[in-house]
Amino acid sequence: MTEANVKKEIASNISRISSEGADYVDARYYLDDSSETLLLYDGDLEANDTTVESGIGVRVLWEGAWGFSATSDPSGIEACFRKAAANARTASRLVEVPLSMGVREAVKGSYASPLEVDPFSVNLQDKLSFLTRLDNDLREDFILKRMVFVNFQKKRIHFQNSEGSEISKDLASVFGTILAMALDSDGEMQRRSMSLYSTGDGTAGWKMMTDPELFSGHAARVRSELAELVRAEPLEYGKRSVILLPGQGHLQVHETIGHPLELDRILGYELSYAGGSFVDLDSFGKLRYGSDKLSVSSYGSIANSPGSFGFDDDGTPERDYLLIDRGILVNALTSRAMVNEANERAGREVFKQSGGAARATSFYRAPIDRMTNVNILPGNDGSREDIIASTEDGIVVDNPVSWSIGSNREHFHFGCEIAWEVKNGEKTRVLKNPTYQGHTLEFYRSLSAVGDKSTWVVEQVNNCGKGEPNQVMQIGHGVPVVKFDDVVTGERK
């Protein structure tokens, strides 16, 4: 079946299901959803995989309840619509608060990730030569294990709904990580890694890989920091300042600002798996989430990031707005139905409009409220060096080893790859096995320094898990260097 015929059939089925009484219908037709993964492990090509998917996902809202169905068979489009409608009708038998998409004008548009060189067009042998060069850069006698990982993704999506919206998207993302491991003086394996980041501008393609600043030029630093780690003492338990470099700060933001501000979590739709949120509808406009230095945005006008996609899967144009304004919680990550339900439940307009955060990972998953780009805005506390210089007793930490968060995101525990001790404004030595833990509000209220634009980068997350059925999503986080005071670090004896 041709692309045009598939779109025609989608349109006629949307009309049919709408005329039968559906509140709302949409379909996402993935013409192509491809992913390529290459992994060099100790120089051996352990993954040389490509995945190609295509299909259609149909969502029907019937008397306030969602039904969804997906098929990879273009000859089964009509059956897929019927199944989604039947599922919605069944769901409508148990509805206490009917969901509503509201009323909105049709949206017509398109979006394409900036892409100068499509990684899928680069010859595999050229890609492998590049990976081998990075692997060679990681080699040193004391290093026991080396890993070079890259992943390329592209999605070509056509969206259509019963409001007359039609949107096409060509999305591209690239991800990369280098990692080295060595045994320390206690015989324990230590690791140091670096993952591709961006400045937010430029191209989402192959050029990011080969840019020495963004990815390909960090092997020597990884090696030398690992050499220090294997000789390092462990971090002792105690309260001190913690300075998060963006490699760690982005995950802190992700887990303790991004997830708790997803409106579906706040409304209790994720309780059986991901959990809830300590934030409730009364919190908006009132809750002091952090110190005055904390301002957090969603999207943040980032041109090039896996969290930038033009239009969400409700058909809402991606928006740029504040979530936290100088410490006060002001907005959430929202989709159309969740905004309507929240306002209805609160009996007032908590949210003016959807934040454009409805996202699905593939054609065979229904959209849920996700992060887009969730960013801490740069501050006025100078460079990384300036922040270190202003610290009496603390540690600088980078890159997560582990993360474990309370079910309502009210508390957390992070393990990091490396820490640098800071005493009286100077980095003194490397410490191994750093961990820190805290309670979310107390932690952000202790935010005492936010680095300027020179410290701000967009870190990429390739594997954010959420939802039932489970979905993995790609997200960006623009973060500066940040400092928190009186944090519990290390583990009690």
Partner: protein
């Protein structure tokens, strides 16, 4: 069900490839999945997917490449196209420094002993009705959420190394319900699993939740200050701890590369408490039983830990090739880990009558491993967690963080339940691949480190 014609097409292309001397593995995965989500006492999503995937891996000497396709397979040309794409990737691949061990379907197997047509075809309306009953019987003053995943999975695996075929057809389900108090914010849960539609019983859920509601309604929360406690870990927590311990300690790759918490030990040496025995047993019906792995090797009973001693490590074929070992049937995401039961009372409260103050943590939320070499894990209590004194439930406990080592928690076990439970650990991130463990319904460990606690549930 998988169209018989598709299996024939696959065999045809396999035979063509074998005749051409191509070394290839073809794996067809079909799922018919359904999931109903509940939120705020309503069905929040009712979703069905019918998906067919084909994975083709090609090996040429020391070079390998693979192609996965999700889409319609109408004819042999589609399969040939996927095979050719994998061949092209292989041709351009860089060679490994070791010889890969070829996949081979050693013997034909066709298994469907955990297949239930009633579950495969379970009507979504049955699920909606069950949730409605639970909500009405326990009261609309509470906020109910949950999910109920069920489905059919079929796998057909062929290799050019032989004309054998392995085929697996099975069904599985995972039911969960969460009851939350809208003001006090405490949460109770009940989960059920199985491979038959009849494995689900609404009475089990009602009985389990009804017992705990008065405890939560009539008591304030207890804040466990950081320190060492005697803890009853319920079956979900035990399964989480055992899964993580196996993943980070008993996989051949981590052990060979000195990344695991068992790296300093050799087989035969003690790694955890004498009472702990673990086995990968694909014949245990409390697990989802896979008689073969995805390299085509037959899977059998495989002891991992006996009386606390390390017995064997699990080698996938890639690790085995790299380190000169034999693959052990672990090229699969669905092991059947079984922990031996003990001699404790079936009732955990009875078992801790003489233990004074005890924390009962049925499940651990969001576990992770801050230090793999030391076997340190961390996670927090969530659902159904209570303080027990002299065998009696006193009050619910606030969210409490456990940060401790496998060696300590599994080395200081004082009681192990005599009753086993099946715990479903499946996720639905990618393709349907059910996993369940069979573990004691609880264990009691002493000296467990609580490192933080919240002021809320």
């Amino acid at each position: 069900m998988l169209d018989a014609n598709i299996r024939k097409i696959l065999m045809q292309v396999r035979d063509e490839a074998a005749d051409e001397g191509i070394q290839a593995t073809l794996q067809l995965h079909h799922e018919k999945s359904h999931l109903m989500r509940i939120g705020n006492n309503s069905v929040s999503l009712n979703t069905s997917e019918d998906l067919l995937r084909l994975d083709v891996e090609v090996t040429e000497g020391r070079k390998q490449g693979s192609q996965t396709y999700l889409g319609p397979i109408e004819d042999a040309d589609t399969v040939r196209g996927i095979l050719n794409a994998a061949r092209e990737k292989t041709r351009m691949a860089s060679p490994k420094t070791y010889d890969p061990i070829p996949d081979e379907v050693e013997t034909s197997i066709s298994e469907d002993n955990q297949f239930d047509l009633d579950l495969a075809d379970l009507e979504p309306g049955v699920k909606a009705e069950a949730y409605k009953n639970i909500i009405e019987k326990l009261g609309r003053k509470y906020n109910f959420s949950g999910s109920w995943s069920s489905g059919l999975m079929e796998v057909c695996l062929l290799t050019t190394a032989s004309r054998n075929e392995v085929f697996h057809r099975g069904t599985d389900q995972l039911f969960s319900v969460v009851l939350k108090h809208p003001e006090a914010k405490w949460e109770l849960t009940n989960n059920q699993t199985g491979w038959r539609a009849s494995d689900f019983s609404i009475d089990k859920t009602l009985d389990s939740l009804s017992k705990l509601i008065p405890v939560y309604e009539n008591s304030d929360g207890f804040k466990a200050e950081p320190g060492e406690y005697t803890v009853i870990f319920g079956s979900s927590a035990v399964a989480e701890i055992i899964s993580m311990a196996v993943y980070t300690g008993l996989a051949g790759r981590g052990w060979e590369e000195k990344q695991s918490w068992t790296a300093k030990y050799k087989p035969g040496e003690k790694i955890i408490g004498d009472q702990i025995s673990l086995v990968d047993d694909p014949t245990n019906p409390e697990t989802f039983m896979f008689g073969f792995d995805m390299s085509g090797r037959k899977r059998g009973i495989f002891p991992l830990v006996e009386g606390g001693d390390l017995k064997n490590l699990m080698y996938d074929s890639g690790t085995a090739a790299k380190y000169g070992k034999k693959p052990t049937g672990h090229d699969t995401g669905s092991p059947s880990i079984v922990m031996d039961t003990g001699f404790g009372s079936a009732d955990p409260l009875q078992a801790v009558r003489d233990f004074g103050r005890v924390l009962y943590i049925p499940a651990l939320h969001y576990m992770n491993i801050p230090n793999r070499s030391k076997g340190i894990f961390t996670g927090s209590s969530r659902f159904n967690a209570v303080l027990v004194e002299d065998g009696k439930i006193v009050s619910p406990i606030f969210s409490s963080r456990v940060t401790d080592s496998f060696q300590n928690v599994l080395g200081n076990v004082k009681v192990i339940s005599s009753v086993s439970e099946s715990v479903n650990e499946s996720n639905t991130y990618g393709r349907r691949a059910p996993v369940a463990l069979s573990v004691p319904s609880y264990i009691v460990s002493e000296g467990v480190k609580i490192t933080d606690s919240a002021d809320s549930f």
